[in-house]
Symmetry: C2
Subunit: 311 residues, 2 copies
């Protein structure tokens, strides 16, 4: 049973009865309330040995990322983050200094995004560190995954694949000068999601790319009952990614398409102008399925691969 | 560093800036909004090896209790539960049947309390089961821990110590007929919190007794800047608790005062009538400190002992 099956199971079993639930399970955040005052709710976990490894990430970065992952979900709905609840589960003997630095990272992130911490729970852990966070947000016009229409252009913010490449460098313990690897490693360990403030009303559908472009685009298409085609040569790849992929002997496309951890936004709209830092990477199609066209125009199917939890 | 130190640390570091935060960290739930429409938020964890042992609790009971613990927090604020977010972190190889039964228990509890599940996160676990839940609620008149006044009478709902005694029976694997031990074991494994619907406006302060009477009364007194005296002979002890404590060779008072897991409500008020199933157990005093008077009127200090997480 994997994450996607479980989410389907939950969605089918627990269809909300309260009329205030405008969107329950199955988007980046739940949407609750009545127009124009809508509330957003999202929750996320970070588990030692699954989502992070303390030999790579500092407690400060860990605290920051725990919050930032949830911020990305609120931004993906076109919302502003508001209130945070934390669950911290730490092994016996965790040093006070570790806890302080974890809280420093959390504080840095909540100040950056003007979030208030309003509650939490704390427990001893039998072994690994378990962290979870629930973040609320507000919006007057939520952007769902389900709004994409055939003919829409597909845009992404920032560059793709950097975080996954940074993580690979850390895992392989590649010896490189700090300034070469730092930009990618920082994206892997301390992502700083950016909202789309401008032209939000022109956006039809949106999702954050935390599990990789392919998988998250597939999710958006599923919800919108459409397909998509991606133009390989248009994918925004950073100079750092291109350089370091060479050193790692890996295809930068693999990082960009299915690496995950990018915390960039993918959205669809009619032709859009006036937003900096976005790239048009493809089109929404009426026909089902994901496709990618290469440099010479050849078309191949794109598998929805990415980070899926299995038990 | 224990749970209480951490909560103090969090409260001091993260004092909310948003004027919508009427009560942040430090009560059973956070209170957000503006009168008369107030929102409540609480979050809670259940970790295998810390909060539960699968040799005692079934997945159904586990799912039920995960939600019920949070419901108790919302009731302790004088609120009605509304929306639930879940985090499920299960070891690789967890059987589908286990997941289904866990969800059955969650469903049973959310139906009982008319809650809607609106979101969640799912992950593989490296070892133990880690569950957390965030519950929202609504109220027009929140009851804080900080409202107790000298001279108030102290009331509790239900009976005390049953759950802790039930847990002890399970741990020691005491061989007893099912009908004798079942009522206490059920309270330990599948608590069913009850709200106080009547006379809520007359209540000055309230808390749920999830960590034991002594510790939770101490918390309420701390927040209200008062003390309290408990009358030993007035503590509501069930016939089952008295019988089984004898079999276990344990003092029923130990279970009632510091056993924890009761999920009953403790509240203070002027003399109150017309609520069934409550017992007056003591008085709030102007002077600091917790005291208990025995059958012969002798007074001894009551230590704030109960369930506190340490790392």
């Amino acid at each position: 049973m994997d994450e996607l099956e479980l989410i389907d199971l939950l969605r089918n079993r627990f269809s909300p009865e309260n009329q205030k639930v405008l969107k329950g399970i199955g988007d980046d955040a739940a949407v609750i309330g009545a127009y124009p005052q809508l509330f957003l709710y999202t929750t996320d976990m970070m588990i030692e040995g699954i989502h992070f490894d303390l030999s790579f990430i500092t407690p400060f970065q860990l605290g920051f990322k725990l919050v930032a992952r949830n911020v990305s979900d609120i931004f993906a709905m076109g919302g502003e983050p508001e209130f945070l609840l934390l669950n911290l589960c730490l092994p016996e003997g965790t040093e006070r200094d570790f806890v302080e630095k974890l809280l420093d990272g959390i504080e840095e992130c909540i100040r950056k995004y003007r979030i208030d911490l309003i509650g939490g729970d704390f427990s001893r852990s039998p072994q690994n560190i378990f962290l979870s966070a629930t973040l609320t947000g507000v919006t007057s016009s939520p952007i769902l995954r389900s709004g994409a229409r055939p003919g829409d252009r597909i845009y992404v913010t920032g560059t793709l694949g950097d975080a996954a490449c940074g993580l690979e460098i850390l895992k392989r313990q590649v010896k490189l000068e700090e300034e070469i690897k730092y930009p990618l490693i920082k994206k892997a360990l301390m992502p700083e999601p950016m909202p789309l403030h401008k032209r939000v009303k022109d956006i039809h559908a949106m999702i954050d790319i935390s599990d990789g472009l392919c998988l998250d685009l597939w999710r958006l298409c599923e919800q919108s009952k459409v397909g998509a085609i991606i133009f390989e040569e248009k994918l925004p790849l950073s100079r750092e990614l291109l350089n370091l992929s060479k050193i790692l002997h890996m295809d930068p496309l693999t990082f960009a398409l299915s690496g995950g951890e990018d915390y960039e936004l993918l959205f669809t709209a009619d032709k859009i102008t006036g937003i900096e830092g976005i790239t048009e990477i493809g089109r929404i199609t009426e026909e089902d399925g994901l496709w990618i066209t290469g440099k010479n125009g050849e078309k191949r199917p794109l598998k929805p691969e990415g980070f899926v939890h299995k038990t």
